[in-house]
């Protein structure tokens, strides 16, 4: 078979500890988002829509659900005869083996997988961000510039720039410097963690890095600086759409709320750039005569008897009579009893909320309450104010 022009490697092994109990049983890329999706749906759908049909997904932490979810990639049209999606967990070999010790190490350990496609370019993605992006345009840019590596960057507010990996580029867009979380940033162009490498260059640097005992085997800390040191041609590619790292409970909540705007920056109803996901089979949602629903995203299989205001409701959720859900994200199969009040909260999958419970702090700007006790029936006085 022919070689592949571009193969994507998606780093999906992160634990996402700042998401607290949401990632107790699942890796961060499997976390729910937007009433229907998991975070990983976004990079996978981006790949499909960009015409990249070969994706390796590197897993490590709690891969069971992710494995099962990805399957052979049918939801994203990535069930291809040659290529498609492959889940790549760490493994044992006759000469040993072990866990992935860093992002670069994870790719290095799967060079055998990459080699079978002889890709001219390799796209490195992470499974942590919500965005819609046409990687084929970035690839065009990368090819035209003749870069060894192209890094996608986005403008961030200057005051937040110190939280990101900041790229300093010259007028031609060539990267001259890379500062990881700089105290005094010289630019507000942050790396999105989306890289395209020339296949041969990537291979060479991964092998060199693997031999370096002092390396932490990380793309941001080791590989990118090594290329810079060697004056490799590294180009910045500017992206100016919606992009959000949903690494904390608050940012996950915010990203969900962003969808409720009348014309949200992230349009999920775009027929030209569909976000694919596995569709559970659920009957239509039912809004009872007593239901009051305003400013909400609601999925199939829900039964709403109470009030839902400015909230995201995943599939299979029940909101009983006289309950009020406001400014909240209710994940799949949550059962909410009667006379419940929920404000500024994320309720995780399958939770049962007893009648009369009061959850969350309605004060604007207050911390978001996360309810995620496994299979818990909530005591009626769980209050987080």
């Amino acid at each position: 078979m022919k070689n592949k022009e571009c193969v994507a490697m998606l780093l999906a092994g992160g634990q996402g500890t700042r998401l607290k109990s949401l990632t107790k049983r699942v890796a961060k890329p499997a976390v729910y988002f937007g009433g229907k999706y998991r975070i990983i749906d976004f990079p996978l759908s981006n790949c499909t829509n960009s015409g990249i049909d070969t994706v390796g997904v590197l897993t490590q932490y709690e891969p069971l659900i992710l494995n099962d979810y990805i399957g052979i990639g049918s939801p994203w049209d990535l069930d291809r005869k040659y290529g498609g999606v492959s889940v790549l967990p760490p493994f044992m070999q006759s000469d040993g083996g072990g866990w992935y010790t860093g992002t670069a190490n994870a790719i290095y350990r799967n060079l055998q997988f990459l080699n079978q496609y002889e890709p001219e370019h390799v796209l490195i993605l992470s499974g942590d961000h919500i965005y819609k992006m046409d990687y084929s345009e970035m690839l065009e840019h990368h090819k035209e510039s003749g870069a060894d590596c192209t890094i996608s960057v986005i403008e961030v507010p200057w005051e937040e720039a110190n939280r990101f990996g900041i790229m300093n580029a010259n007028e031609q867009g060539r990267i001259t410097e890379f500062d990881e979380k700089p105290e005094h940033p010289k630019s507000n162009l942050a790396s999105m963690g989306v890289y395209i490498f020339r296949g041969d260059v990537l291979k060479q640097y991964l092998i060199e890095d693997a031999e370096n005992e002092n390396s932490s085997h990380d793309f941001g800390k080791d590989i990118i600086p090594a290329l810079l040191r060697d004056y490799k041609k590294m180009m910045a590619y500017r992206f100016d759409g919606y992009w959000k790292d949903v690494g904390t409970v608050d940012s996950l909540w915010e990203a969900n709320m962003d969808l409720l705007k009348k014309d949200p920056d992230l349009n999920l109803n775009d027929g030209e750039w569909r976000i694919y996901s596995k569709n559970p089979n659920q009957p239509p949602q039912y809004l009872a005569p007593t239901a009051k629903v305003k400013n909400a995203l609601i999925n199939e299989g829900c039964r709403i008897h109470g009030t839902v205001d400015t909230s995201i409701i995943f599939y299979g959720v029940q909101v009983s009579d006289s309950s009020v859900v406001k400014d909240s994200v209710i994940m799949p199969d949550v059962k909410i009893g009667k006379n419940v009040t929920i404000n500024r909260a994320i309720i995780s999958k399958g939770t049962v909320i007893e009648d009369g419970a009061v959850i969350g702090d309605p004060t604007p700007g207050s911390e978001i309450t996360l309810v995620a006790e496994e299979g818990s029936v909530l005591a009626s006085n769980y209050v987080n104010t």
Partner: protein
């Protein structure tokens, strides 16, 4: 375990749903917000561990084929068994069969090859959630030749006039099959037969010039065969006219009807689409309504059913209506007692009001 193969026989089903069946057969008509009529028959079979299903299609089956694919949504895209959509395309010059016997005759192969001891034949118009393994259990207990499924209805709706009724003795043996409009034993167009007997009956029926297998091959043999009646007691709707379609759709807004079809462990499956969750804007007001995914609602909706991807503009008012896939209702339009087929567009400010007992039907892709 005894194995059952299924046949969904659409051959005798008339397309009586006016504008809704101009371009598609009744089995392909959208129903209940995200399904098609045939989804119930197929899901019932799949949930009853029937792994081979043949669909006898006669005409206007294009959208049916699109919808069923290879049975993927029902896990029926299998190597052994699976779903077979069988339009009339046969070329045997020696064939003397007529009516639906043409289908039975030309598809005998399906029966012969099916890895099954029993055959369950069903139509698509009787919406229900039934476990055919229970039918088989009773069939074997009473040692019947044929078991037919019926419902003892509480109320006599006009749609039952087109259905057969059963006369039944105290042992649930069928003693008569007729059209008496006052009978409450409504035959649900489903029967179970042992495979070998089925093949024998088909061949006899063709030899005797029959053209309707159930009438000429089974009903005509009431005296010779032990025909047992299995009573189905769950939610049931017979849809064979616009009126019965409309009334039975609206009934799904009642919790017990809805739960009877969708609330148990045997889910109704349908072809999966990728739609975002439905979006309710601040100006929306929606009550007592079923809503599928992908809708964007800015107006007011009550006592209605919205299929996938419907858009309701600000100030629009929808009452007692069924709005099918991808319809767009512009601001301030008013719809009451209306059925909109797929892809219709209602301009801003228009008003369409049908009668409660006779809804106004707008055909596919119409802009008004």
């Amino acid at each position: 375990m005894d194995r059952i193969a299924g046949i969904i026989n659409l051959d005798h089903e008339q397309d009586l749903l006016d504008e809704l069946t101009y371009f598609r057969c009744g089995a392909a008509v959208p129903f209940a917000g995200r399904y098609r009529m045939i989804d119930f028959a197929v899901s019932n079979m799949a949930n009853s561990r029937i792994e081979s299903v043949a669909v006898f299609a006669r005409r206007k089956y294009r959208s049916l084929m699109d919808h069923l694919e290879q049975g993927k949504a029902w896990d029926l895209d299998r190597k052994r068994g699976g779903m077979f959509i069988l339009p009339p395309d046969w070329n045997d010059p020696t064939d003397i069969s007529k009516g639906d016997l043409q289908h039975f005759h030309n598809n005998l192969d399906f029966l012969h090859r099916a890895w099954a001891d029993y055959i369950l034949v069903s139509g698509s118009q009787n919406i229900c959630n039934i476990d055919f393994q229970e039918v088989l259990k009773e069939h074997k207990e009473v040692d019947a030749d044929v078991t037919v499924v019926y419902n003892r209805v509480d109320e006599l709706y006009p749609e039952y006039q087109l259905a057969h009724k059963l006369e039944i003795d105290q042992n649930s043996r069928v003693t008569g099959i007729h059209n008496d409009h006052s009978s409450i034993n409504v035959y649900m167009d489903m029967y179970l037969v042992k495979k070998d007997l089925m093949i024998e009956l088909i061949e006899q029926c063709i030899a005797h010039g029959g053209s309707h297998f159930f009438l000429d091959g089974i009903k005509a043999k009431l005296a010779e065969l032990h025909i047992h009646a299995y009573e189905y007691e769950g939610t049931h709707a017979l849809v064979n006219s616009v009126e019965s379609y409309y009334r039975n759709s609206c009934k799904l807004l009642e919790a017990d009807q809805h739960d009877g079809l969708f609330g148990n462990e045997a889910p109704i499956f349908t072809k999966v689409k990728n739609e975002a969750p439905s979006k309710y804007l601040p100006s929306s007001e929606v009550t007592n309504t079923l809503v599928a995914n992908g809708c964007v609602i800015e107006g007011q909706v009550e006592d209605s059913i919205l299929f996938r991807g419907v858009k309701i503009g600000e100030g629009a008012i929808i009452k007692n209506s069924i709005i099918m896939q991808r319809c767009e209702i512009e601001p301030n339009a008013v719809l009451e007692n209306v059925i909109l087929d797929k892809d219709c567009k209602i301009s801003a400010g228009r008003t369409l009001i049908g009668a409660p007992e006779k809804p106004f039907v707008v055909p596919k892709r119409k802009s008004m």
